[in-house]
Symmetry: C4
């Protein structure tokens, strides 16, 4: 399987999972002739749903960017990697469910922990894929520095650990756990923003 | 990240968001053996939903065309642009929700204003992306006239301002606001139709 | 806009609309410990939904094939064609709704007529696109015989007329109208099957 | 129709169907202020849904891989193959429904059998496509050994037979049938994993 098919399929599933997030915010049925006050209250009551939507959107787009960068550095694809990737996608496609559960029960410790556990499993699957490609399968581009690649495998193990920590914390301080869940992808997003402002362009028309 | 991956991912999310619009029109459950009169009434009662579907379809396809034109004029992509684009997509993927809310509560001033505010945020994010690429990041193709590019940045700021005006008006005249929401994308669509009839083709097989 | 972007966007919307059809078949909630008889009855009660799913799947895949063939014969794309295509896609993305309505109210004359009217509008939009590209925009490949192209414009007008006839008939004989709705795409599918059995291949790896 | 368009359309539908699986797990509405015990119970009550999600994810990704491998070995596409492929996709896009039905009624013999029958039909359609391309249409790459191709046609007939057997068994031992439904795709997945560990790479950047 050429790299580009693997990437197109993964991009499709990630983009689709992102777009399905909105369906978990159910439209309040307020009946005909509802007045402005009730409508405003109904929208305000959905603020936790909007917040969880934003967090999940951030989580998924960061994984999309990381996935793209990883695939870009791959030299070739074997069947183990293919199935490790499918294992990762299984958790990504699952994210709309804990997103909806948390949005409908904001501040619930168990729902918050469940969200963190699903993200932890996705992060673990991503690490597994990177670990296999780098240290077992020998699938990374040979021109990339081995030390750098091993460093990235280690860094990528941070993500499941932090999500697990967030899930544990959420049982006591669910709101604080949400900040952790946001901080993890935000850290990656801002890190890449740093690259951007140093004028390192990501590609050009002939890339 | 090469331009074409950014575009494919964005196109995917825009196309998915468009297609999800229909799911916000709930099928009336009229029970078995419903007669023609009740069915006809139920369909007529959904006319506001159909109208909002058409407006949102127009809004999203116009953004799809604008997004394509913008990406076409880009020379390269950096991480700031990547995240500005994700910020824009976050609001596009959100549009099915205000579409459903407005369709279920036609004429409600707050639901109409909420719809306008989401479009305003999407328009603002689009302007931000264009502004950064043109005036900060230096990411546009160098052969395109700088004055024209700056003009486009200014024009593109019109969209969030008009949606904000529509949202404000909707608190008093919600139906009139819907005309404004329709007129904004329709203006862009008809403007491009004008290009079309002057026989300026958009591409050919070797493009 | 190059042809291939228009086609990828259209394919995305058509494929997505097709896949959403299944969501309009709601899962019966029979409670825990339901016995086999009730479950079997519940599945049998959904047979009309399954039938409408098959019809809509056929309708949409035939349009996908026709759309592909049409785009293949295009020489270039202008803005009028772009918006005519979006107009067509607006009805395609709408199809899950009448599919669900008809599946939930099998045999209802108005629901059956409504289904036919949506297909008629999609067929009309497709004809409009073909008519514009052939007779107004001059967008078809110049090497294709003009008489053949004009013939195809006329043939393609049959589809909205037949769906309109089906919609009219459905008010008296809704079941018979379903046969018409099935026969229209089946005719096109079998016609292309005829090409296939005459060993005219559709493409090869270098196409 | 070139092979790559057929594959992109099929990949889109398979990826969409996979991602829609999650929507069939409905979010429990437990009201505000729900305590941890009830939330935990609600999540545990969804374990059958999660299990069926995993099975369907596995089923669909294995078909995605098989479909890719099959298309890769095709030399050309004709209209019969195109419609056989659409016939296959009709059952793939249907899978979210039996997945949801089984998840909502775990252990129900009829729901379990229904799941197996849908998979059987998808497997039969896949075999039909392969049989036609190999033995009737002459569409496979001529450089591939004929004996190997005929062997693959026979192997591929195993899948519908095993799903049919699983469906029959499910009427008596529904839980055991679930193991069969899992074992069928798992067998294919592990078989390909075996290829992977023998270092046979699937592609490289120039593929």
């Amino acid at each position: 399987m050429p790299k580009n098919r693997l990437e197109a399929f993964s991009d499709g599933i990630i983009a689709f999972a992102i777009t399905l997030l909105i369906l978990e915010i159910h439209i309040p049925e307020l009946g005909p002739g509802v007045d402005n006050g009730i409508m405003l209250k109904a929208i305000v009551a959905l603020l936790p749903n909007f917040a969880v939507y934003v967090i999940s959107f951030l989580v998924c787009t960061v994984w999309w960017v990381s996935h793209h960068t990883f695939i870009h550095d791959l030299h070739s694809v074997d069947h183990v990697l293919l199935w490790a990737n499918n294992f990762f996608l299984m958790f990504i496609a699952f994210i709309p469910f804990p997103t909806g559960l948390l949005g409908h029960h904001p501040g619930n410790p168990v729902a918050t922990a469940f969200y963190g556990l699903v993200c932890m499993l996705a992060g673990f699957a991503f690490w597994l894929m990177r670990w296999y490609a780098t240290l077992r399968g020998g699938l990374m581009k040979p021109e990339i520095d081995k030390t750098l690649l091993r460093h990235r495998v280690r860094i990528s193990f941070l993500s499941p650990i932090l999500y697990l920590a967030g899930a544990a914390i959420s049982l006591l301080y669910p709101i604080f756990a949400l900040y952790i869940y946001t901080a993890i992808p935000a850290y990656f997003a801002f890190r890449t923003l740093g690259y951007g402002s140093s004028k390192q362009t990501l590609g050009n028309p002939s890339d």
